[in-house]
Structure formats: C-alpha cells, structure tokens
Amino acid sequence: MSPIDIIIVVAFLVLIFVVGGYFYKWISTPDDFYVTGRKLTPFILAATITATNVNVYSFVGQSGTAYQEGLSIIWHTWTGNMALVLSGIFIIPIFRRLRIRTIPEFLGLRYSQGFRGLVAVIWIFRLAFWLGIGIYAIAIAAQTITGVQSFTLWVFVLTGITVFYTILGGTWSVATTDALQFLLMLGGALILLPVAMYAVGGFATLKAQVPAEFMSLVPQSGDFNWLFLIAMVLLSIKWATINQDVLQRAFSSENVRTASKGMVLSGIITTPFALLWILPGIAAKVLYPDLTNFDNAVPTLIVEYFPPVVLGLMACGLLSAMMSTIDSDLNSIATMFTSDLYNGYFNIESSHRQSLTVARLVVLVMGLFIIGFSYLVPVLGGAVEANLTVIGILDTPLFVVAIIYGLLWKRANWQGAFAGYFAGAFVGVFVYLAGDQSFSLAILSSAGAALVVCPLVSLLTPPQEVVKANTIWDAKKPELEHPDDVDPFYIVPKSIPGKLAISASIFGLILYLIGAIVGSTGAVISSYLAVGGMFMIFIGGLVRIYVK
C-alpha cells in the first residue's frame, strides 16, 4: 500500500472517531443510548440495517465461497433480503408497537422473566464470541490489504475506535457511523466489480470459462444446491425475526411505519449489491484457479489490480463493513445486559444515570474481552466454529417458541416455551454432534422438536394468565401506536392495494419455493421462478409500506 493509501485509511479512521464521538451530548436517557430516543428516519434506518447486515464475511467469505462453489451462494444474501422484507411487513410492526428494546424483553412480556434472562445471557455470549472472531477477521484482512503487518495494531486501533464512539454516543453514534460506513462500503463494492470484470475480460468471457453449473442460480447438485435455497430461506426468516443486532435498529425508528420501511428498503437495496462482491469471487476463479485459501480470492484481486488511492478507498470500504457490524453488536450487548439483566434482576429501580453508566461499562468490558478473544481465535481453531454452530442451532427453537407459537398461538405458555426451547436445543446439538455434522439436518431436527414439545407441554400445564398473551395480540392492531399518529400501520391492510401487496409478497415466497423445488430436476426455469418470486416479495413489500 502506498503512502497516499495509508493517509486515506488514517483519515477515514479519524473521521469515524470524530463523527462517532460527536453524539455524546445527545445522550441523556437510556432510550437515547439504546434506541436513539426512537427518532431514526426510513433511509438512515435502512442504511444502518444494511451496514449491520453486510460485513467482511460478505466481501471475503461469500466471494470465497463463490470462488469455490459458484453463483448460488448469492442466495445467502438474497434470502436474507427477502426475509427482511417479510419481517418488515408482518413481524416488526408488532415488536415496534410494543416499544421493546430487545428480543428477550419480548419473551418476558409474552412468557416469563426467567425465559427473558436465559435468552439474554445466551445472546450476550453469542454476540461476544462473534465479535472476537469479527475483530480477528478484519485485522487479518487489514494486514493483507494495507501491508501493515501488525495484528496487534489493527486489533487495538479498530476495537479502540469502535468502543470509543459506542460508549460516547450509543445507538446515535452507531447509526450515524453505520450510515457513513454503508456509503463507503457499497462505494468500495462499486469499484470492485468493474475492476474484476475488466481483469477477466468481461462477463461473457467469465461465463465461457467456468462450468455451466457454476453460473446456475439453482444448481441441481453441490453444497449450495436447490435444498440450500429452501434451508436458507427458513434460516433467514428466523434471522430477520429474532436477531437482536438487526432488530434493535428497527426498534430505533420514529414510528411503526418507519420501522417497516427501513426493513423493507434495506432488503431491496442490498439485492443488486450482492452481485458486486459475488461476481468478483467468480472472476478470481478464472484469474487465480489454484488458490488454496478461497477467502483470499477477492483480497488477492484487490491487491493486484487496484491502483493507489482506489486501493485506499477500497480498504476503507472493507473496514467500514466490519466496524459497522461490530459497533451494532457492542451496542446490542450493552442494551441486553442493562435492560434485561441489570434492570430486570439486579437494580430494577435504577436511575437513568446508573443505567447509562452500566451500559457504557459493559461496552468497555466487552471491548477488552473481544481484544483478548481475538488472540485466542487461531489457537482455538475448530472449537470456535463448533461453538458458533451450536449457538446457531440454539436460535432455531427460539424462533419456534418466540415467533411461531409466541405470535400465533395464545395457549402457548412459559412452561411450553422453556420445554420447547430446551428440547429443540438438545435434539439439534445431538443430531449435529452424533451425526455427520450436518448443519441443515440439525436445524430441521431442532425446529421439529420445538414444534412438537412446546404445544404438548403447554397443553399439559396450566394456561398462562391471559394478560400476557393479550398484550402481544393487542400489538397486532394499530391502536397501541401513539394517539397522535395519523398514519397507523395495519398488518392486514385496510385498502385493496395494501391487500394485493401482501398477497403478492406471500405468492412471491411460494413461487420462490416452487423454483427451489423445480431446481431438483435441473430445469432452467427454476432460476426464473426463484428470482421472480424474490422480485414479487420486493414489489409487494415496497407497495405495502407506502399504502394504507
């Protein structure tokens, strides 16, 4: 990296440091720190959701998988986008209307405080581990791209800056720097695609030089085949309905409709951008067919083809991608610890000042933890991946008891939720460890166990007090919105265009699933059906957020 590129990267880090730190004076209550005092507007919200969602894994990991397996890995992002739209029009309005700050808080309202505390602890551990791995990944990537070979320097600088502004400005800093990082990150992706295509001789040349199956959106075989499309859409819906770091951004919206708009718009805008990092991964396959570490596909291309200044800007884009995810996760951990554990168990009557101090301390402690853990990642190796897999499996029964039974079946009680959650977790982990370590099979078994056990135990135990379920059911109606809100958001719309819009989204999901199933025959039409279904979901979602 040339001196001018180093200057660009340093200037970027200083800019983030200054912008992030500016918001200190905007924080006077815990809600300011956790959810920006619920003042975020649609496009900033969509930017911050996208910045949280897209990270170094997208640029490095997904492009590396595209290098190895082909185009169909793009559904990892596209199913997430579809899920954001569906969650935005059906689920988020309920959560936003309840004015919750965390998903465990919802579980406390629906089931019990014990369940709330349990899930909060699991989620804090989950995010803390993920942050340690994230910092490790970005420090390695920063070394490769900048040529500044000091792991310690990158870990301390990146963590230090992110922790600094998250402590000072909470979600205000996180959301604003995310919006800035969103622009830099996608700006970097816009540079990457033409450079990669120029290097390979254009899209037609690229297509001619890789096997036909490699460019198939719904392959009949391989790790990312038609079955992957079905598993991914289920996992993505789970992700977009219970994932704290993404949903906390939506909870920061100024009203219910804005929350819905932010989710839907974020899903739609990320869709074309996914091609900007997947296609370069495939181009790298032609340019460097013998790479042993597939994750080096795009970094190798960047270092070889990017001229000075452009390289510096691309490095800022990559750093942005990871910093925007890390700050959101830090903020989520602080919110869950303070809101669900500290205010829930240890100091229920705490003052605003006490809560803010605890939240900031949690960010600081977590910063120190992730610095330490990032050094352990290479030592732990496979153990880290196994741990993340197990934690990932635990999310599936949570989705079943929180979203499926929690929102759709009033008779589900806390005993059923606990039993369903533990049964699903146990079966999922057992299937994963005892079988051939198939993540998809573990997920499906886990969901199946929770689906059966939760209603069984609920029916065998006394019904829960009606008020708990009613609180949630009432939130499905717009009456809970602010009395002055002149633009209520109905989940089942009142207008014909609104009804047609949600019908289009549901039909789009069915079309997508049909496309995936047709993909098992190897028919070319499967790709058109799956992509057509995705577009129907988007069009339905887009119309829905703008009509009554």
Binding site: K25, W26, S28, K39, T41, P42, F43, I44, A46, A47, T176, A179, F182, L183, L186, G187, A189, L190, L193, P194, M197, G201, G202, F203, A204, I269, P272, F273, L275, L276, L279
Partner: protein
C-alpha cells in the same frame, strides 16, 4: 473488447441506488440534526 452489458447494468443499478441513498440519508440526517439542536437548546433554556 465489446461493451459488457451485464456488468455495467448491475453497476448502474448499484450506482443509482448509492447516489439516491447518499442524498436521502444526508437530507434526513440534516433534519434530525436541526430538530435535535432545537431540543438541546430548549433543554438548556
């Protein structure tokens, strides 16, 4: 080399979204900044 229609179509869509988002995000942020400044000034008074 022939014009690469696929690459530049994808790029153009991404670029248009990027420009629109930059403009709208900045516009929204300025509104929030003004409202927040007013609120802080009122609190100080």
């Amino acid at each position: 080399m022939e014009f690469d229609f696929v690459t530049w179509s994808v790029w153009s869509v991404g670029f248009i979204i990027w420009i629109i988002w930059a403009y709208l995000s900045i516009k929204e942020f300025i509104s929030i900044l003004i409202a927040q400044k007013k609120e802080l000034d009122n609190d100080n008074d």
